[in-house]
Every structure is written in structure tokens, then in C-alpha cells.
């Protein structure tokens, strides 16, 4: 298909919610004000690890203006967590706190200030326990247990998978590299702090408006933790002011607001402060990595062995999935015939880590791409040409049994190489360049490249079930308007718009004719949530199916009226008719009336679940996706060797998006991903001092402003993937991945020093230059690895190079 076959798809249209956003009409959760509403605050632990001996709320309750003060005793004693295997959180801690910021009590009062004041009057008697603030601490002190579950003392998860004989493959290699990397954790820092409004009404029913990316999971957790039938609970995701994975867990404050509403008989609002957002976290895991890869003389990979140690923080969150994700996605990018992965997530007394844009795959991508750069240099190969050579084959399986479909990575590499002037600039710039002018200036210029792949939606749901991952109901009314009901949550990525575009395309309407009703567990069919880059594909496929069924029903009625066959009809320009006899075409509104007269109410469901093709081994459920996006990135920068300051000048990014349903929105996702990657590469870090977050504020937690963000040149590559809606793949996460290693590789090109630790700060660069000056290996990065016995690997035959299964089970496809 070519672009001009479409009326809506491929056009740079405004988002359907853009107007509301520019005039300030969009109502985020904290913009809701209900009559008689009370304001709640959480009292959070000031200890990183402590037993709670007693809590006395009497002084808080006595304060004028306080409606209720609660502790764990006032809630059902039920633990929760996003993953069924890690139910380890409490809405309010009962016996123990595991991090500074753990909630222990809450107050609802006439206003926020009174609630805060009351919190300060709550007396908590703690018995401090040793705080374990690093992977090394937690493993060195097995006698101190943060949790009493997991795969060993303070080990949340320990996984080991082997696909083929990796040792033999490494033995037979021309070059074997062994490198160690560290990726520091960082926060999503969405501009909107989490907020929720709960209203438990006199009829015993509960409504929660929340800034959440996953209303369906919040719905399930509220039913469990409040011991209330799910049927009496309604969760509405308000438009989300930025998520990036930070609003993907169900949270304590949501549960507590509901309980306070029940106890006070008032609506209750709770809005986190920026400091609380940093402590609520669920951000990027700090990960230590060891990677050993074998190469042939030509640059082919013979095999790869990766070990990862994740600093999980105090709770499970998505951690089991995060652990797998550090290992399973790298093989999707390149030909890796055999592969071994060992990973472990360690509990520490810090805010829990979870999913952030690129979930778990960003850290090992940094490791692999920096290692490939070194290997290319040792082999005397151009890093771009070497990668081009080893790009995975489309429609095959990887060593770890993931099925890949279309792959546009080769074209992505070619186009960023071309656009950036890679060949000329690589020779002209860099530490080895012979330009006399360049050598005098302390500002050295460098060019670096890296690639990546990312999933377009997780192939399995968070809790095991056979139901759709995404559902849509589409109805047409007599006005000619169409309403799309879908549980998808718009977090700024544009899911409401995508639903409108796809429906309009199928029905021959304009996007403004479509009313999208999103993210309301009472009104809309379930969509699992805005995570894992799943929404455009999964909601999109469901929306196309629903709109197609509606169109078929209307075509049947119009065909009778025009006395033609339904197959001869088309829908376009808000009419339905036969192309050769367009004068007789029926306006859509009239067609909807004919349809309703023939069929009754015109409302049709659409359902989507991913193809069932997970590898048949334990752990095979993490990694499969309907299709994968691919990205290649070239960074051009200068580094000042006197100050260590890095100035990014240009980023060229090629992204295989399958098809750009709206190129403007795809570019926006790519640019935002590049920006976030830059922040992680150069400045953002969630670090701790004396058990406290070192800088839980937007001033001290450095993030790129307009001045640090370079010109971003986006190149979209279309591969028309058979799995995606009109061929589309994801765009919201994948393009973040290559940016970080491309920056590290460019710094090496400029200065000849390796910073194997993110963020790459000026002091690390200066330290490496100093090492270089005194003749030591010019590298700054981790120098020791944790002592932890990985369990014996599950050994599975490598599926590398096998063709994609021709027959796949596709639930709900008909």
C-alpha cells in the first residue's frame, strides 16, 4: 500500500485533544474539585529500615479541621503489588518500613495545610534496623532481611537461561571481549506529580480519578486491598501529565484516598509533592553488567554471555519483568547464534525501581553497543558497517525463541550514516584525526553511533488470562457521529488521537467526527494500560476490527437501499457509495440511520490479543511481542578536555516505525525519546546520601533544558509490518535506547577515553583524561562485581535463524 491510498493515515494532523491542552481546559487529576472535598496527606517514614513499634494518631485527630487519621490498622491487612508474584507492598506499613518515604499513616483534613500539620502530630516509635543501601551491602548482610520472600536473602529474582553452547562459540571466536558497565538509576520526573481523587458515595460505590497509566490494574488492586467488589469500583484515568512508566504501578496514595473517603463520607484528594514523586519512584534500575562476546575476524558475533545485577530498591514492582528485560531483547537486533543470560535483582532500602521508558533494555543496550564499538576498533572495522553486516534477519527467530517480523534497521543505519556525513566526519574529527587546528583547541569533536530494538507491546499480560489485551466498542448514532469506547489511557503519546484516526480511516470520516471515551473501567472495555509500547498496536487493531464490523453493518443497509452489492461500496468523504456512481452516495449520518433501522443499535466490539508464540520454556513469556521497532542513532558532540563539559550539537535518529500513522506524532515520540536519553546519558541520576535521596527536587536533579537539547534530526523508516495497525510499530520508547551508547561512543571518538558508567559527567571525563595522561588505561567505570551465585541455567536449544512460524494462534482475529 502506498500512503496516498489513505485519507487520514500518514497525515500530520493535530491531536484530537490538542485544543483543550493549549487553552488550559484539560482536567488532570489535581484539577478536579468536588463539593465538600477533603485533602489528604501521607506521613512517610524517615527511616530507611525500621520496625514500627507503635503509632499514635490521637494528637492529629484532635487537631481542628481534621476529619480522619488512619494507620494500617484502619485498612484490610492485604498486601499488593503490580505482579502476582511480588505482592509485597502495603497501603500503609504495619510492622516495618523498608525505605525513607514508606507511608505509615495518613490524614484527611479541611485543607492540605491542616493535613500536613496533623501528620507532624502523629507519633511513630521506630526500632531502627540496618539500612542496606547498595547491591553489595544487601548481599554482604544476608542476616538482615528486607523481605522474607524471593530467590535468596535479599535476592528478589535470580534467573539464568542458556540457548546453545555459548562456551564453545566463544572458544572458536577470533576476538573475545569481556567488559563491565554500570548504569545509574534515574527518575521519570513527569511534569505532573501523581494525584488522585476518591469518592466513596452513600450507595457504597467508589470512584477514583487518578493520574495513572494503568486504570485496569488499579481497579483490581483497589478491589483486593479495600476488600470491596470490583463491580462497585470505578477507576477513571484522568489525562496524565507525563508518565514514562512512573504511573504504571498501583500506589499507596490511591488506596489510602479511597479508604479516607469511605471513613469521612467526603470526596478526598491527594496530590504528591515533587519530593514524594522522587521517593515513589519506580524508575530506571541501577544495573551492573558484565558482557562477554565473541567475534569473527569480519565482525560477526559468534555468541554472547551477559550477566546483570539490578538494584531493585525496597519493593518488587515490575522487578521480575525488569530482570528478564535486561537479558532478552538484545538478541532481537543482531545475529547472535547462541546466547546466555544470568540476571539477579537485589532488594535494597531505597525507593523501588520499576519500568521507565525502555524498561530494563536500556542498560544492557548501553553495554552491548559500547562493546561493539570497541570490537569494531580492534577488528579495524567501521562501527556502522560492522553493525550493518550483523543486523538480524527478518521473519526469523532469535536464539532465545523470539519471533521477529520486519526489520528496518539496515535502512535506519544507512540513512543516519548518510544524513550525518558519518564517513567524512569520522575521519576528520576524533582524537586520532590529524587536523592541526583541532589539536590546538581544548574542544574536541567526536561522532558516535549505536543501534537498538524495542518491543511493540508485551506479548503476555501481567496476570495470566485468556481475555483480550485491548478492547474497543464502537457505536454510530443518528447524528452521524461515532463514539469509540476504549480503556486506553492517553499519557500525552496520543492514544485518543490514534483511536480517532484509525476509526475515521475505516469509516471514511474525519477524526473530529469521532468521539473517544477513554480509560474508564465502568464505561470502557479493558485495555491493559499505557506501558510496553503496546497501545497503538493493540488498541489500534481492536479499533480497526470494531470499526470494520460497524462499516460492514452499515454497508449492508446501504447496499439494500442502492440495490448494489456491499462489496462494491466504499466509505470516504463522510459518504458511502459506489465509486463509479458517487452522485448516489449516501451521507454517513443517513447511512447510520439505514443501518440502525436494519440491525437495531449500531455498537460493535473489537478485541485484540497478541499472537501466541512465546518460547516454550520457563521465562519464555517475557520478551515476545507482535513486532519490534528498530532505531539507529548518530551523535555529534564536542567535549572540552579542560572542563569535561559535553556539548551535544546534533543527533540523527533513524527509526523503523512500521508505518507512521501520523508522522507528526511519531516525530514527537522520537524527539522526546532522544531528549530523555540525553538526560540519562549526561546528567540524570537518582542517588542517595545517608539513606536519603541526594536531590529530590527539579532544580538539583539535573535534566536537559532547551539549552542542553541539541537539534534532533528524525528520519522515519517504514516497513509496513503485517502485525501492526496499517503496518505500524512502536515509537515511544525504542528511540531512547541508542542515544546513550552513541553519546559514549562519540566521547571516545573525541577524546580516546571510555566512560563505562552512566551518567557520563564532566568529573568522570576529567578523571579518564588524567588516567590517559599518566599512561593508565583511560577508562572510568565499575571495577568490581557482586559475589552472587547465579542458579544453574535452564539450557534450551538455540532457535537462531529458524523461520518465523507460519501458523500462529491469533485469538479474536475473526
Amino acid at each position: 500500500m502506498t500512503k496516498n491510498e489513505f485519507a487520514v493515515i500518514g497525515r500530520p494532523l493535530p491531536k484530537v485533544d490538542a485544543w483543550a491542552k493549549v487553552v488550559g481546559e484539560t482536567k488532570y487529576a489535581d484539577d478536579l474539585f468536588l463539593p465538600r472535598m477533603a485533602y489528604a496527606k501521607l506521613l512517610r517514614s524517615s527511616h530507611a529500615h525500621a520496625r514500627i513499634k507503635s503509632i499514635d494518631t490521637s494528637r492529629a485527630r484532635a487537631l481542628p479541621g481534621v476529619f480522619a487519621a488512619v494507620t494500617a490498622a484502619d485498612l484490610p491487612r492485604v498486601k499488593f503489588g503490580i505482579l502476582p508474584v511480588s505482592q509485597d507492598e502495603e497501603a500503609l506499613c504495619a510492622e516495618k518500613v523498608r525505605m525513607v518515604g514508606d507511608p505509615v499513616a495518613a490524614v484527611a483534613a479541611i485543607d492540605e495545610e491542616t493535613a500536613e500539620q496533623a501528620c507532624r502530630l502523629i507519633e511513630v516509635d521506630y526500632e531502627p534496623l540496618p539500612a542496606l543501601m547498595s547491591i553489595f551491602d544487601s548481599l554482604a548482610h544476608p542476616e538482615v532481611r528486607i523481605h522474607d520472600y524471593g530467590d535468596g536473602p535479599n535476592v528478589h529474582k535470580n534467573v539464568a537461561l542458556q540457548f546453545g553452547d555459548v562456551d564453545a562459540a566463544l572458544d572458536g571466536a577470533h576476538l573475545v571481549r569481556e567488559d563491565v558497565f554500570f548504569f545509574e538509576g534515574n527518575n521519570h520526573m513527569p511534569m505532573e506529580q501523581h494525584a488522585a481523587v476518591a469518592q466513596w458515595t452513600a450507595d457504597g460505590k467508589l470512584t477514583l480519578w487518578s493520574s495513572t497509566q494503568t486504570p485496569h490494574y488499579v481497579h483490581r488492586v483497589l478491589a483486593k486491598t479495600l476488600d470491596t467488589p470490583a463491580a462497585h469500583i470505578r477507576v477513571i484515568a484522568a489525562p496524565v501529565g507525563g508518565g514514562f512508566g512512573g504511573k504504571t504501578d498501583p500506589f499507596s496514595h490511591e488506596i489510602v484516598a479511597c479508604q479516607l473517603s469511605k471513613l469521612t463520607g467526603r470526596p478526598v484528594k491527594i496530590a504528591l509533592t515533587r519530593e514524594e514523586v522522587f521517593y515513589t519512584h519506580r524508575g530506571r534500575h541501577p544495573v551492573l553488567m558484565w558482557i562477554k562476546t565473541g567475534f569473527t575476524r569480519e565482525g560477526d558475533i559468534t555468541g554472547c554471555h551477559l550477566r546483570t545485577w539490578l538494584d531493585g530498591g525496597a519493593y518488587g514492582s515490575y522487578g521480575v519483568a525488569s530482570t528478564f528485560y535486561t537479558g532478552v531483547i538484545n538478541p532481537v537486533t543482531y545475529k547472535i547464534p547462541v546466547y546466555k543470560f544470568e540476571g539477579a535483582r537485589i532488594f535494597t532500602n531505597k525507593p523501588p525501581c520499576g519500568p521507565k521508558r525502555g524498561h530494563g533494555t536500556v542498560q544492557p543496550r548501553f553495554a552491548l553497543e559500547c562493546q561493539l564499538d570497541r570490537a569494531a576498533e580492534q577488528l579495524g572495522l567501521d562501527p556502522a558497517e560492522m553493525r550493518r553486516r550483523i543486523v538480524a534477519e527478518p521473519f526469523t527467530k532469535t536464539a532465545n525463541h523470539l519471533t521477529v517480523t520486519t526489520i528496518g534497521l539496515g535502512e535506519c543505519i544507512d540513512r543516519v550514516v548518510e544524513a550525518s556525513g558519518w564517513r567524512v566526519k569520522r575521519a576528520r574529527y576524533g582524537v586520532t584525526a590529524k587536523s592541526p587546528r583541532a589539536s590546538r583547541s581544548p574542544r574536541k569533536r567526536g561522532l558516535g553511533l549505536a543501534c537498538s530494538a524495542y518491543l511493540t507491546g508485551a506479548g503476555t499480560a501481567i496476570y495470566w488470562n485468556d481475555m483480550p489485551h485491548s478492547g474497543v466498542v464502537t457505536r454510530a448514532d443518528r447524528s452521524g457521529g461515532v463514539t469509540v469506547l476504549c480503556g486506553a489511557t492517553d499519557i500525552g503519546q496520543g492514544s485518543d488521537s490514534i483511536l480517532a484516526y484509525l476509526t475515521a480511516e475505516v469509516l471514511g470520516l474525519e477524526p473530529r467526527d469521532i468521539h473517544v471515551q477513554p480509560a474508564d473501567t465502568t464505561l470502557t472495555p479493558v485495555d491493559l494500560g499505557s506501558y510496553s509500547s503496546r497501545v497503538t498496536l493493540m488498541c489500534g487493531m481492536a479499533a480497526i476490527q470494531a470499526a470494520g464490523r460497524l462499516r460492514d453493518a452499515i454497508f449492508q443497509a446501504v447496499a439494500r437501499k442502492l440495490e448494489v452489492s456491499p462489496a462494491s461500496l466504499v466509505a470516504r468523504e463522510r459518504k458511502i457509495g459506489v465509486p463509479d456512481d458517487w452522485d448516489k452516495a449516501v451521507p454517513f449520518a443517513r447511512a447510520a440511520e439505514l443501518g440502525e433501522a436494519l440491525h437495531g443499535v449500531l455498537a460493535f466490539p473489537g478485541s485484540y490479543a497478541p499472537p501466541k508464540r512465546a518460547g516454550k520454556y520457563k521465562g519464555g513469556g517475557v520478551g515476545p511481542s507482535p513486532c519490534y521497532s528498530y532505531s539507529a542513532c548518530v551523535v555529534e558532540l564536542t567535549v572540552d578536555e579542560e572542563t569535561g563539559a559535553v556539548d551535544l550539537e546534533h543527533v540523527w535518529i533513524g527509526h523503523d516505525v512500521g508505518r507512521a500513522l501520523n508522522p507528526l506524532l511519531v516525530e514527537g515520540q522520537v524527539e522526546g525519546s532522544v531528549y530523555m536519553g540525553i538526560g540519562e546519558a549526561l546528567m540524570e541520576e537518582q542517588i542517595f546520601r545517608k539513606n536519603l535521596h541526594k536531590h529530590p527536587s527539579m532544580l538539583e536533579y539535573k535534566s536537559p533544558t532547551t539549552l542542553e537539547t541539541p537539534e534532533i534530526h528524525t528520519i522515519l523508516v517504514e516497513t509496513d509490518d503485517p502485525e501492526g495497525p496499517f503496518g505500524a510499530k512502536e515509537a515511544g520508547q525504542g528511540p531512547l535506547l541508542p542515544v546513550i551508547p552513541a553519546i559514549a561512543n562519540a566521547i571516545y571518538h573525541a577524546l580516546g577515553v571510555r566512560i563505562d558508567e552512566v551518567p557520563i559527567t564532566a568529573d568522570k571525563i576529567l578523571k579518564a583524561l588524567e588516567l590517559k595522561r599518566v599512561g593508565k588505561p583511560p577508562r572510568v567505570g565499575p571495577t568490581r562485581l557482586p559475589l552472587l551465585a547465579f542458579k544453574p541455567p535452564l539450557v534450551v536449544e538455540s532457535a537462531f535463524g529458524q523461520p518465523a512460524d507460519p501458523v500462529v494462534s491469533r485469538p479474536f482475529a475473526r
Binding site: 500530520p12 493535530p14 491531536k15 485533544d17 490538542a18 485544543w19 483543550a20 491542552k21 493549549v22 487553552v23 488550559g24 481546559e25 484539560t26 482536567k27 488532570y28 489535581d30 484539577d31 474539585f33 495545610e113 521519570h188 520526573m189 513527569p190 511534569m191 505532573e192 506529580q193 489525562p239 496524565v240 501529565g241 507525563g242 508518565g243 514514562f244 509533592t273 515533587r274 499519557i491 500525552g492 503519546q493 496520543g494 507528526l664 506524532l665 516525530e667 514527537g668 524527539e671 522526546g672 525519546s673 532522544v674 531528549y675 530523555m676 527536587s697 527539579m698 532544580l699 535534566s703 533544558t705 532547551t706 539549552l707 537539547t709 537539534e711 534532533i712
Partner: protein, 161 residues
């Protein structure tokens, strides 16, 4: 202690009885119902709560309403005139410069103050003017593009009139 404040907001005379330490941000949102102004940090770090006071961008989370008495306050709700969007608002819609939209009001107002002072700024000048407004979604690219587009259109409008 509560004080009565009289404010001119978006050309309307508004009054509120508020605790004397309540910030302009809180009064706009909670007492005057103008929730278009957002909060990102409430410590003057992110630019999200920017409003215009006599044409100058002001962080409303650090301002007290009494300081703004007698001044003209403009919030995002006051940018459109007579149902017609400000050229900046139009450009932000067209170019996809608002993703989650949460930083958008503050950025629109900061940009409008820039364009009032410098009708055709360079890209570097736009960047410098917006350096105090954080956005986590867009990578700023579409925002800068939209400000430039609006400047261009406003310049043309000026030339015609």
C-alpha cells in the same frame, strides 16, 4: 490570617478571601477556578506555573497575590481573544507541540512574553527564553518550531495591518 485580595485576571476583576501566605498559584487554581495554571514543583524550579504579570513571566508558585494587586495577570485561559486562539496556541496545535500538555500553559505564556518583546527571535533566543520551562515529553523540538511559526505568522499579520 485571611486577607481580601483584588486581582485583575484576564481582564476580569476578581476577589478572594485567602490566607495571606497562600501563593498566587494556589489562589488562581483553588479560589478562582483557573486550573489551566499547573504546578510542577512549587519551588520555582520548573516554570510550569508561569503566568504573566503586566506582561512579564512570573512563577506563580513563588508569588503572593498581594504583590500582584493592581497588576494585569494573564493565565492560559486568557490567551485566546473572543474565541480566537492566540497564534502561539494555533501553532502548538498544528505542530504537535503539546504532548501531555502539562507544561504547555507555562510555555505558551513565556513564549508570548518573548514575542511581545522580540517579534522575530532567533532559535537561540527562543531557546534562551524557554530555558526555565522544563518539558519531559517533546524534546523541545516541536515547541521551538511552533514558537517560530507563530512569530512568523504574527509578523505577517502585523505587516498586513
Amino acid at each position: 490570617m485571611k486577607v481580601r485580595v483584588a486581582l485583575n485576571v484576564n481582564g476580569e476583576a476578581r476577589e478572594a478571601l485567602v490566607p495571606s501566605h497562600k501563593t498566587l498559584l494556589e489562589v488562581l487554581r483553588e479560589d478562582l477556578g483557573l486550573t489551566g495554571t499547573k504546578h510542577g514543583c512549587e519551588l520555582g524550579e520548573c516554570g510550569t506555573c508561569t503566568v504573566l504579570v503586566d506582561g512579564e513571566p512570573v512563577l506563580s508558585c513563588l508569588a503572593l497575590p498581594v504583590e500582584a494587586e493592581g497588576s494585569r495577570i494573564v493565565t492560559v485561559e486568557g490567551m485566546a481573544e473572543g474565541g480566537r486562539l492566540h497564534p502561539l496556541q494555533e501553532a502548538f496545535v498544528e505542530l504537535g507541540a503539546a504532548q501531555c500538555g502539562y507544561c504547555t500553559p507555562g510555555i505558551l505564556l513565556t513564549a508570548s512574553a518573548l514575542l511581545a518583546e522580540r517579534p522575530s527571535p532567533t532559535r537561540q533566543e527562543v531557546k534562551a527564553a524557554l530555558a526555565g520551562n522544563l518539558c519531559r515529553c517533546t524534546g523541545y523540538t516541536k515547541i521551538l518550531d511552533a514558537v517560530e511559526l507563530a512569530a512568523l505568522r504574527m509578523g505577517r499579520q502585523e505587516a498586513r495591518s
